[in-house]
């Protein structure tokens, strides 16, 4: 540790006798100002999250009270089944905001988001958690030194690049392999999105696994338990809240991920449970439509309403993740 002694000297310049008190006063005043400035910045950081909620909420609220807006887009139009189809073919949920009768059912968007998110988790979570177990429990030092930076690299790949690859490369591969009806569908987008959420699931799980105290491991090894058995029956249960946190945070990340789904999901707001149909998610809808919308039109407010829902949902998921992490800490530290 190199200590810069000259800096210490300049921090307290040797005062000449008569300037001593004024010098000290100046230093104290600067100290006071700096303290206030620091406090101001902390408050600024806290206020950003409030401002985000406030300014998105502000543009979303007219859906609740403005009669002009509610003529087209009331909560009823948004959530309740409507009669858009005919007797033979009822179409209760349609998202079609541009047209003679704008249709704003958010159900297909929620369903689409859920479909892609679940596929991403099904594909990404086992990989990420498995890799985390391997690096935390079995891997030799050099393997760890490869896997961890590679996951960091993956986290550094911009999602627009993942979207591009899903659109240009992955979609063609999947099409050739399985021949789904639509080239761009929930499966393609979900697999590409798995790549976007693997880093966060891996990092949080790995943190949880390595946080399990060494005494747990030593005790079970001393009892003659094989290392893999120890990983399953001692380390994993101890780290469970952390793994939960990883899944919850991964879920939140997937829900809000925009570019991958915008480019690779096909963007058709279809109400179907089939995973190989094209889907349109909430985030992709905002990204695709807000650019062309008339300022303060019903459509504009509905898109902000969707944004507000996305914000609240991810906020709740984050809090849940935080809660699990806190529980892990309590559990492992024993208080």
């Amino acid at each position: 540790m190199r200590i810069d002694t000259s800096a210490i000297g300049s921090a307290l310049p040797l005062p000449t006798s008569n300037s001593l008190s004024s010098h000290l006063k100046g230093a104290r005043f600067k100290d006071f100002l700096f303290g206030k400035f620091i406090l101001f910045n902390a408050i600024l950081a806290v206020s950003t999250i409030f401002l985000i909620g406030l300014y998105i909420g502000k543009e979303a609220l007219p859906v609740f009270y403005d009669d002009e807006i509610r003529k087209e887009a009331s909560l009823d139009n948004l959530f309740a089944p409507q009669n858009y189809g005919t007797e033979e073919m009822p179409l209760p949920f349609i998202w079609q905001p541009v047209g003679e009768v704008p249709k704003y059912s958010v159900f297909p968007l929620f369903l689409g988001t859920l479909k892609v998110t679940i596929i991403a988790l099904l594909f990404g979570a086992p990989l990420a958690i498995g890799a985390a177990i391997y690096t935390a429990e079995f891997a030799k030092h050099w393997v760890r030194e490869i896997v961890k930076p590679v996951v960091e690299l993956l986290a550094g790949i911009p999602s627009v690049v993942l979207g591009f690859l899903a659109l240009v490369v992955l979609a063609s591969w999947i099409q050739d392999l399985f021949g789904f009806d639509y080239r761009l569908n929930a499966v393609t987008a979900g697999i590409a999105m798995a790549l976007a959420i693997i880093p966060i699931i891996y990092t949080v799980s790995e943190d949880a696994l390595t946080a399990v105290p060494r005494t747990y491991r030593e005790a079970s090894l001393a009892l003659g338990v094989a290392p893999w058995k120890m990983a399953i029956s001692v380390v994993l249960p101890a780290a469970t809240p952390g793994i939960f946190a990883a899944l919850v945070l991964g879920f939140g990340r997937a829900m809000g991920e925009t570019m991958v789904v915008l480019m690779a999901s096909g963007n058709a707001a279809v109400t179907s449970l089939k995973l190989t149909d094209s889907v349109r998610t909430i985030a992709a809808t905002i990204a695709a439509e807000l650019g062309e919308v008339v300022f303060r039109s019903p459509h504009y407010h509905v898109l902000f309403f969707l944004g507000a829902m996305l914000f609240s949902l991810t906020f709740l998921l984050n809090m849940l993740g935080e809660y699990f992490v806190a529980r892990l800490k309590r559990k492992l530290m024993g208080h």
């Binding site: 600067k30 902390a42 806290v46 502000k58 391997y134 591009f164 240009v168 399953i232 807000l290 650019g291």
Partner: protein, 323 residues
């Protein structure tokens, strides 16, 4: 493997055999478990290799000096991507100017000033961790609603008599939106560094009569430079790759001129990739350009990440040697 009194005695050899059998079966499932988790690692590493390999192989053909320095031509099927590179660089510079000072100050608050039981400390912690989880498209909405419409609109009403100057998408607002998005990155990285600086240094400085401000300015911050640098680099790398927040706050598909003012719109690499790959009239003709643009974007973010990883691993090594 002790025989219980009720069981018929099996003799020493039989017991040893059973024991052996069990151990072997245990080893098999152990091997399978190890193999599966190891395979997960391998799959992740090879997927990353595949991504990078694919982009490197397909992206390098079209890469040339001209590609990096010329403007797009022939409806995006020819020319280069200079305006997009220029816009991206300008954008992240503006963003860094905004985010690094605030982020460092907040980290100083969290590590040096706050008492950990105070309300503001808890609120700041909560805000930082939640900010990191807000979807990027929500930042886009926020940027449009707050920066463009509210701040920009207010400035126009106050100083420009209601003419549209600041109240429209602009590089300034896009940079501010990205600054909010990358704030947690800077805060968390700086905090890590501040935590790694031994308390003895602060105590020695305070004991010599230095004020807290003098201690932070002359003792703490000089030690934290590399960490702050890492935070800044990571923020830039994150900001350079985000597209959703700038969709409505200033990015443009094609501009004949480079942005010259804070209120200009701009072209950006990530946005360029999005537009080329989803709205191109001739997919096959734009593909080489598209690949090379992705190559440049990826090279930029990787280079930044790489530098950050190296600085950080050195920092951690320093921390370890100290015990």
């Amino acid at each position: 493997m002790a025989t219980s009194p009720g069981m018929p005695s099996r003799g020493k050899w039989a017991n040893a055999l059973i024991d052996n059998e069990m151990r072997r079966s245990r080893d098999v499932s152990g091997k399978i478990f190890r193999f599966l988790t190891g395979a997960a690692c391998l799959v992740i590493v090879s997927m990353v290799a595949l991504i990078i390999g694919n982009i490197f192989i397909n992206g390098r053909h079209h890469l040339s000096w001209r590609f990096l320095t010329a403007a797009p031509e022939d409806g995006m099927t020819g020319g280069g991507i200079f305006p997009a590179i220029y816009g991206t660089v300008l954008l992240v510079i503006l963003m860094t100017l905004a985010v690094v000072p605030v982020g460092v100050m907040v980290a100083i608050y969290l590590q040096e000033y706050s008492s950990h039981s105070s309300r503001l400390y808890k609120a700041t912690r909560l805000a930082v961790s939640n900010l990191a989880g807000v979807p990027s498209i929500v930042f886009g909405l926020f940027g449009l609603g707050f920066f463009v419409k509210f701040l920009g609109g207010s400035i126009d009403r106050l100083f420009y008599g209601g003419n549209l100057v600041f109240g429209q998408p602009a590089i300034l607002w896009a940079a501010m939106t990205l600054a909010v998005l990358t704030l947690p990155v800077v805060i968390l990285t700086t905090e890590d560094t501040l935590r790694s600086i031994p308390n003895e240094l602060r105590e020695a400085s305070m004991a010599l009569g230095a004020t807290k401000f003098q201690t932070i300015r002359h003792i703490v911050l000089p030690q934290a430079v590399s960490g702050i640098l890492t935070g800044g680099i990571l923020a830039v790398s994150r900001g350079a790759g985000e597209v959703a927040p700038i969709l409505f706050t200033g990015a443009a598909y094609f501009l004949p001129e480079l942005p010259t003012k804070l209120t200009s719109q701009f072209m950006e690499l990530g946005y360029h990739v999005l537009v080329l790959s989803t709205q191109s009239p001739d997919v096959e003709a734009t593909k080489p350009i598209l690949y090379s643009t992705v190559f440049v974007l990826l090279a930029l973010t990787f280079l930044l990440n790489f530098v950050a990883i190296i600085i950080r691993s050195q920092m951690r090594a320093r921390l370890r040697t100290r015990g």
